[in-house]
């Protein structure tokens, strides 16, 4: 690699001065040039480095299996996906589940329900799946194309549930564990005021912070989740707690704590995420598909 004339000779210094991701784009491009894409490598890359936003959607799609590893069949599969989407939308329209005025997230929800065969009858009224809606709202912000958006939502949720469905219940425990390591006083405080069990775990772990963090920060978290790590969620939550520990320790009412955590200020989330990633890398070492 070092002899590669195309590679920037400054690359060795970029990381030293903190510009991460300058060379990563190039290496990602190299990765993406492989004909049968190496999913392992891609996910490792995505775990280790932040994804350039211009390739993010593509990588996500590949990682989530929306696009096949073979770039030759991308167009074909893309066509399939598109047709499927259209078919479903058509069917839903025919069945009058949706109409032109239905919000896209609801369309996605119906579609997802249809695909997962849980679409309620028209007469039935199920409580809307808020997790899905939150994720879809976030995804809609991230992705422009509605087809991609739907597929990403669907695959993300599916993958998340398939992959981490088992470990989700353990995440609060590990959060406590890491919190006791990082800031035992805060943990004690939370425990003493009884806010610990009331923390917004569903917001954090089921929705993957959708609606909690702004999309620009969220997509970096999701990079890690999509590339196969749900521990990052724990660290993001930990970092949120650590960042606002002064406010949290000042707050003695669990409701107040929860309320605050549900509506954390959106200013320095980037820093929180960066720190969380650092923490995550610190604790989970070289994140090699660590769960």
């Amino acid at each position: 690699m070092a002899d590669d004339p195309q590679r920037n000779f400054r690359s060795a210094y970029y990381e030293k001065v903190g510009f991460r991701g300058v060379e990563e784009k190039k290496s990602l491009e190299i990765l993406l040039k492989d004909n049968p894409l190496d999913l392992e490598k891609l996910s490792t890359f995505s775990q280790r480095f932040p994804l350039p936003s211009m390739y993010r959607i593509h990588v996500w799609k590949v990682l989530l299996g929306i696009l096949p590893p073979h770039s030759d069949s991308h167009s074909l599969v893309g066509g399939y996906r598109k047709e499927q989407y259209q078919d479903i939308v058509e069917a839903l329209e025919v069945m009058r589940y949706i109409n032109s005025s239905t919000p896209s997230t609801h369309i996605y929800l119906r579609m997802f329900q249809l695909e997962s065969q849980v679409l309620p009858r028209c007469s039935e009224t199920l409580p809307p799946n808020e997790d899905f809606l939150a994720i879809s709202r976030a995804m809609e912000e991230i992705v422009d194309d509605s087809i991609d958006c739907y597929w990403l939502i669907k695959c993300f949720i599916n993958q998340f549930h398939i992959k981490f469905g088992d470990s989700l219940p353990h995440l609060p425990k590990s959060l406590e564990h890491y919190l006791s390591q990082e800031e035992p006083r805060l943990l004690n405080h939370l425990r003493s005021i009884g806010a610990l069990p009331q923390l917004p775990y569903s917001l954090w772990f089921k929705r993957c912070f959708a609606g909690c963090l702004p999309e620009s920060s969220l997509q970096r978290v999701w990079d890690k989740v999509i590339s196969g790590s749900c521990k990052i969620l724990v660290f993001v939550a930990l970092e949120i707690l650590l960042s606002y520990k002064i406010i949290l320790t000042g707050n003695t009412r669990p409701e107040g704590v929860v309320k605050f955590l549900c509506n954390i200020p959106q200013e320095n989330t980037d820093a929180i995420v960066t720190k969380a990633i650092d923490l995550w890398q610190k604790y989970c070492g070289n994140p090699n598909h660590a769960v």
Binding site: P36, G65, P68, P69, Q84, D87
Partner: protein, 1243 residues
């Protein structure tokens, strides 16, 4: 200012007020005015006021005028100088100002006042003005030395004019004035000579070389020249250098004054400083002796000239003198007083001389007071005899003074110093008790003899002189001459008066005692006139001697002898005196005090002091009786403490005082000796003594003394009121004139006094400086001593350090030596070691060279070894070859032996055969030959066939190799292909997954749609159950027909709804009608078969399929036979890869076939059902059509979606037809398999 100006002017008269406070106020007012105002008004008023009133206060203010007013003051004075009337007061004012030495005095040279002063001096004829002016000029000269350059010749001219004045007396002024003038000219001479010697001498040379001036020179200037030394500047300096202003820069005013005094030989003028003090004493007598030798004749001339010159001073006293002569009657008291007065004067003189020798002048003494008292001297109270005797007694001394160059020591000491040597010689004798009487007589004998002789001679001489003086002067008085002489003596005393208060009181006491004494003496004297003649001179000489003794220790010792001598004499002459002395002790005390006064200056003889004190003080009575005491009494040692000397002792270091004392004693000794000689000489030829010229100052002194003497006498003799009447008696001139003369004389004296006072101040300044220098010097000396001590200490230190240094050096040397030895030893060791090292080196080298040789040898040996090895190997190889050859040869030998055996056998057989052949005959041979021939041919043909066979074999082998490579290539290709296939498989799988997903979705959709449909159906049925029959029979039938099934279908639908949960979706589709088509459909869409053909094929095939669903395979084989056309084209298009893909597909499809195998069966099982459906295609079509008709709304939308839509369209249209699509798949697979087979076959 202008308003106040008159006020201040008016205030001026108030200066004379007696109120001190007011005076102070006015003075401060005027001073303020002067300090604030810059105008000249007030100053001019002050000057005018002064000129009018001669006010002392105004003078005081004027003389202390500050800088800005100097110009006005000088201008004003310049103006005043122009007026002859105020010239004198102006000059006096100027004199005061100049003596005050204001800071601006140096500007004088630039103001016209100096010029007018000079002009005045050159032109004026008033002696008083001249004298005053000259004194001012003399005072001014040192202050403006640089101005001499311009005015030098004017000074000289003034000098010349005034010098000649004496002789010519153009103004015909009284001669008294001339004395003053002469004195001032003398001072001017000194000043000019001291300051500008070269120029002055050259002036004198030029001026007095003229004949008309010769007389003046002889008379006036030459005597003056006698009183100066050769100025050093005459030797070293030049005229120009003298006038150089830079020369004067280093001098202060008093420096210049002293410089001038240095060159003077006149003790009254000269300073006794820096070696010059002793010089007059040392040199004077010699010079005098020389002078006596050389100028014996001029002396007379000089004397005569002196007489002429001094006649004027004498004249004044003489004027009153004649009357005494004419009035012989003398009261005893008068005579005594007269006698006393000279004595006192003498005494005073002696004291004054003492003082003058000390260089002191008493400020308390004012000549003016004396002069004031010096009203016409009245000496006529004296008896002529007495006078004579006195004159005789006085004369010698006076003449000594005059003849001795007038120098105080020179003149008088010689006279008295004659006894000292003898005395000193006789001292041991004197020291013996009761020797005094004996010793004194001889002395007495000798002295009187000696003194009487000169006295007589002198008297004669005086007479002569007086006569000459008479000749020269207007009046002459023989006895008066004596008086004048005494007067002159007194004047000297007066001018030089010490007037130490103490001395003064002592003197008065003395006087009192002496008067008493003399009262008696006079009687004795009268009784013993002969004695008197001896006595008085002697006495006087002793008196003078005591005076002289100030400088002369010997004379002082002599003085005492004088005392004792006198006393015995007195005792002899006046027995009362002894009593007097013993009883009252007044005279003794007086004498003692006198002596003490003398002694004070000679403290170095203090060894005698106690004795003296003892003898003279307390036991004054035994003085007379015990001559022993008298022996000691002469010792002049200061019985009283010596304040002055002790003061000096305090101020000076003792060394200095000792030095001074020693010096002076030496000098005095010398001088005394010489004077004695001179005196004796002078005694022998007494004439010469009187010839010595007197300094003008002395003359003036004498004049004053005489005046005061006369005044005394007159006072004594005359009652005060009668004083005025005396004038006519004495002078014979008008009293007014006389008064005027006297007044001006007084003025002159005053001026002179002021001048002298000024001089004294200059001396004081200088003394202070000298004292400071001395102090500095002593301090330095002390420092020097301290330094010397330090030096000594340090030298001691140095010595000790040097010793230690030597020790250290020795030690160092030792150490050095030790080190040297060690070093040498080490060096030798090093050398040894080096040598051994060198040896080792050489050995080492040898060994190395040996080693190298050995290595070389080793190499050689190794090479040899290698070659040997090679040889061995070679030989081994050869051996092997040989063994092979050997074995070969052995085998060949064996063969040989075998062949030999065979040969033998053949030979035997040949023999046998030969035998046989020979036996059967020839026919056999032909046959054999023929046989052989045929065999030969056979062999050839066989060989040829063998060759062909070999060639064939080779070709076959080549072919096999080729094929093998081809095979390997193909295998490689196959691997690649496999990889690619895998890739493609993955791709396809992914695609398949996608499509599967899509399919799933689609299925969900359809399910949903179906459920929707069912719902709708149920709704429809629910709405119109009754109207079912009226709608359409087939439809109704179908509905009825389907109804029973409907439950099944519903079940199936339900089943289908549940299907997602079931793991095997493909099993069930066949069970259901609607869903069976779905597997085929994707296949149909997945396969790339041309749609049209498949459609056609499907449409064509459907009937047979429907007809015989169980036997499609044989049928299918037929279309498969047609299919190769299409299929065959496929591989051609895709070539080898396509072939491989087919293989892959075949595998898949085989497996699929295995899976799909049941569907046909299932289809077969469901055949009954389908046939049922198919039996009524007609009604089914409309049914389908109805379904189809129902579908149109979605159709237009679906159609543009993709290629799948026609199928779907067809699908629903041919629900029943879908079934055969299942069998079609196997056929297709078969086709592929066929293709594969054909391909294999083909390849």
């Amino acid at each position: 200012m202008a308003r106040e100006q008159p006020n201040v002017g008016d205030l001026l008269p108030l200066l004379e007020t007696s109120d001190l406070q007011q005076l102070e106020e006015i003075r401060s007012l005027i001073n303020d005015q002067l300090s604030t105002e810059r105008g000249s008004m007030l100053l001019n008023a002050l000057v005018d006021y002064f000129l009018e009133t001669n006010s002392a206060q105004a003078l005081h203010i004027l003389s202390s005028v500050r800088e800005p007013h100097d110009k006005h003051l000088l201008d004003k004075m310049n103006d005043c100088m122009a007026k002859p009337a105020c010239r004198l007061p102006t000059l006096m004012l100027l004199g005061h100002v100049v003596r005050k030495q204001p800071s601006w005095i140096h500007k004088m040279a630039r103001y016209p006042l100096l010029l007018s002063l000079l002009k005045c001096l050159k032109t004026d004829t008033d002696v008083v003005v001249l004298v005053t002016g000259v004194l001012v000029l003399i005072t001014l000269l040192p202050m403006i030395p640089q101005a001499g350059k311009q005015h030098l010749w004017e000074y000289f001219d003034i000098f010349g004019r005034l010098a000649s004045w004496n002789l010519k007396n153009p103004g015909h002024v009284s001669e008294v004035y001339l004395i003053h003038l002469h004195a001032s000219v003398y001072s001017l001479f000194h000043r000019l000579y001291g300051m500008y010697p070269c120029n002055f001498v050259s002036y004198l040379r030029s001026h007095y070389s003229m004949k008309e001036n010769m007389e003046t020179f002889e008379e006036v200037v030459k005597p003056m020249l006698e009183h100066v030394r050769i100025h050093p500047e005459l030797v070293t300096g030049t005229k120009d250098h003298e006038l150089d202003p830079t020369r004067w820069k280093k001098y202060e005013i008093h420096d210049i004054v002293i410089e001038c005094a240095k060159v003077s030989l006149d003790p009254k003028e000269a300073s006794c400083e820096e070696g010059y003090a002793t010089m007059p004493e040392n040199f004077y007598p010699q010079a005098h002796l020389r002078a006596q030798d050389s100028t014996s004749s001029p002396y007379t001339d000089l004397h005569s000239s002196y007489g002429s010159s001094s006649s004027t001073p004498f004249s004044t006293p003489r004027q009153p003198l004649p009357p005494p002569l004419s009035l012989p009657p003398l009261s005893g008291t008068q005579s005594s007083s007269s006698y006393r007065s000279p004595q006192t004067s003498r005494r005073q003189n002696s004291n004054s001389e003492l003082n003058s020798s000390c260089g002191g002048k008493d400020p308390l003494w004012s000549p003016s007071s004396l002069c004031g008292m010096a009203t016409p001297p009245s000496s006529r109270g004296m008896s002529p005899n007495l006078e004579l005797s006195h004159s005789a007694s006085h004369l010698p001394s006076r003449f000594h003074c005059t003849s001795g160059g007038k120098g105080t020591p020179a003149s008088s000491t010689p006279a008295t110093s004659s006894p000292p040597p003898t005395l000193s010689d006789d001292f041991p004798v004197i020291s013996l008790p009761a020797n005094t009487v004996q010793s004194s007589p001889p002395r007495k004998d000798r002295r009187p003899g000696e003194t009487s002789k000169p006295g007589l001679v002198r008297q004669e001489h005086v007479r002569e002189m007086e006569k000459s003086g008479e000749g020269a002067a207007n009046r002459d008085a023989g006895s008066a001459a004596n008086v004048t002489m005494t007067l002159t003596e007194l004047s000297v005393f007066v001018t030089k008066q010490e007037l130490d208060l103490q001395l003064r009181t002592e003197k008065e006491r003395e006087e009192a005692a002496i008067t008493e004494e003399l009262m008696k003496l006079t009687e004795d004297k009268q009784e013993l006139p002969g004695l008197r003649g001896y006595d008085s001179p002697f006495f006087h000489t002793t008196e003078t001697l005591t005076g002289r003794q100030t400088q002369n220790p010997t004379s002082s010792t002599n003085a005492h002898p004088g005392g004792p001598i006198r006393e015995p004499r007195y005792a002899a002459s006046t027995p009362d005196r002894a009593e007097n002395a013993s009883g009252g002790g007044a005279g003794d005390r007086a004498a003692a005090s006198d002596r003490s006064a003398v002694d004070r200056s000679w403290s170095f003889q203090s060894g005698f002091t106690p004795i003296d004190h003892h003898l003279l003080r307390s036991p004054s009575a035994p003085d007379d009786d015990s001559s022993k005491f008298e022996m000691f009494s002469p010792s002049p040692c200061g019985k009283a403490p010596v304040p002055y000397e002790s003061l000096f002792a305090l101020a000076l270091p003792r060394a200095a005082s000792l030095f001074v004392g020693q010096k002076t004693s030496e000098a005095v000794h010398k001088a005394a000796m010489e004077r004695l000689l001179q005196r004796e000489e002078g005694l022998e030829d007494g004439e010469e003594e009187g010839v010595v010229s007197a300094s003008p100052l002395e003359v003036l002194d004498r004049l004053v003394q005489q005046g005061s003497d006369a005044h005394d006498k007159v006072l004594k003799r005359l009652p005060l009121p009668s004083k005025s009447a005396d004038w006519t008696h004495f002078g014979g001139s008008a009293p007014l004139d006389e008064l005027h003369t006297l007044r001006s004389q007084l003025l002159l004296l005053h001026n002179q006094l002021l001048y002298e006072r000024y001089k004294r101040e200059q001396h004081a300044v200088r003394n202070r400086r000298l004292l400071r220098r001395i102090i500095n010097a002593t301090a330095l000396e002390e420092q020097n001593n301290a330094m010397k001590d330090q030096l000594n200490l340090q030298s001691v230190d140095i010595v000790s350090l040097r010793d230690s240094l030597q020790v250290e050096q020795q030690r160092y040397r030792q150490l050095w030596d030790d080190r040297e030895t060690v070093v040498t030893r080490l060096h030798s060791q090093i050398r040894q070691l080096q040598q051994s090292r060198d040896d080792y080196y050489t050995k080492n080298q040898e060994l190395q060279s040996k080693l190298q040789e050995c290595q070389k040898r080793m190499d050689d040996l190794e090479a040899e070894l290698q070659t040997a090895n090679n040889k061995v190997g070679h030989t081994g190889h050869l051996l092997n070859q040989m063994t092979v050859k050997l074995s070969n040869s052995e085998s060949s030998q064996q063969q040989m032996s075998f062949l030999n055996k065979q040969l033998l056998l053949l030979g035997e057989a040949h023999k046998l055969s030969m035998q046989d052949a020979q036996q059967p005959g020839m026919s056999n041979t032909k046959e054999t030959e023929m046989l052989r021939m045929s065999h030969m041919k056979e062999v050839d043909s066989l060989r040829q066939s063998l060759l062909a066979q070999g060639q064939k074999l080779e070709a076959a082998q080549q072919r096999a190799a080729e094929l093998e490579t081809l095979l390997s290539k193909k295998e490689h290709l196959i691997a690649e292909q496999k990889k690619f296939l895998e890739d493609v498989k993955c791709q396809a799988k992914a695609e398949l997954q996608a499509s599967d997903c899509r399919f799933q979705a689609q299925r969900r959709i359809t399910q949903l749609l179906q459920t929707e449909l069912l719902q709708l159906y149920s709704q429809v049925e629910m709405e119109a159950p009754a109207a079912a029959g009226s709608s359409s029979p087939p439809g109704g039938r179908a509905e009825t027909r389907t109804h029973p099934d409907c439950s099944g279908v519903a079940a199936g639908g339900l089943h289908a709804v549940k299907q997602p949960n079931s793991p095997s979706p493909r099993d069930s589709p066949r069970g259901t009608n609607g869903s069976t088509l779905s597997p085929g459909q994707p296949k149909a869409s997945g396969s790339s078969l041309p749609l049209g053909s498949s459609m056609n094929g499907a449409q064509d095939l459907t009937p047979p399929l429907l007809m015989e669903p169980s036997a499609p395979c044989p049928h299918a084989a037929l279309p498969a036979a047609d299919a190769p056309l299409t299929v065959g084209s496929y591989p051609s298009a895709k070539s080898f890869l396509g072939m491989k893909a087919r293989e892959l597909f075949r595998n898949k499809s085989e497996s699929q076939c295995d899976d799909e195998q049941p569907p046909p069966r299932l289809a077969g099982l469901a055949h009954g059902l389908k046939t049922e459906l198919c039996v009524e295609p007609g009604p089914a079509g409309p049914a389908a059509a109805t379904v189809h008709a129902k579908e149109p709304p979605p159709e237009p939308r679906l159609r543009p979606l993709g290629q799948g839509s026609p199928h779907r369209k067809a699908g629903p249209g041919q629900v029943g037809v879908r079934g055969p699509s299942g069998p079609r798949c196997p056929r297709q697979q078969l086709k592929i398999m066929d293709y594969n087979e054909t391909h294999h076959e083909h390849s």
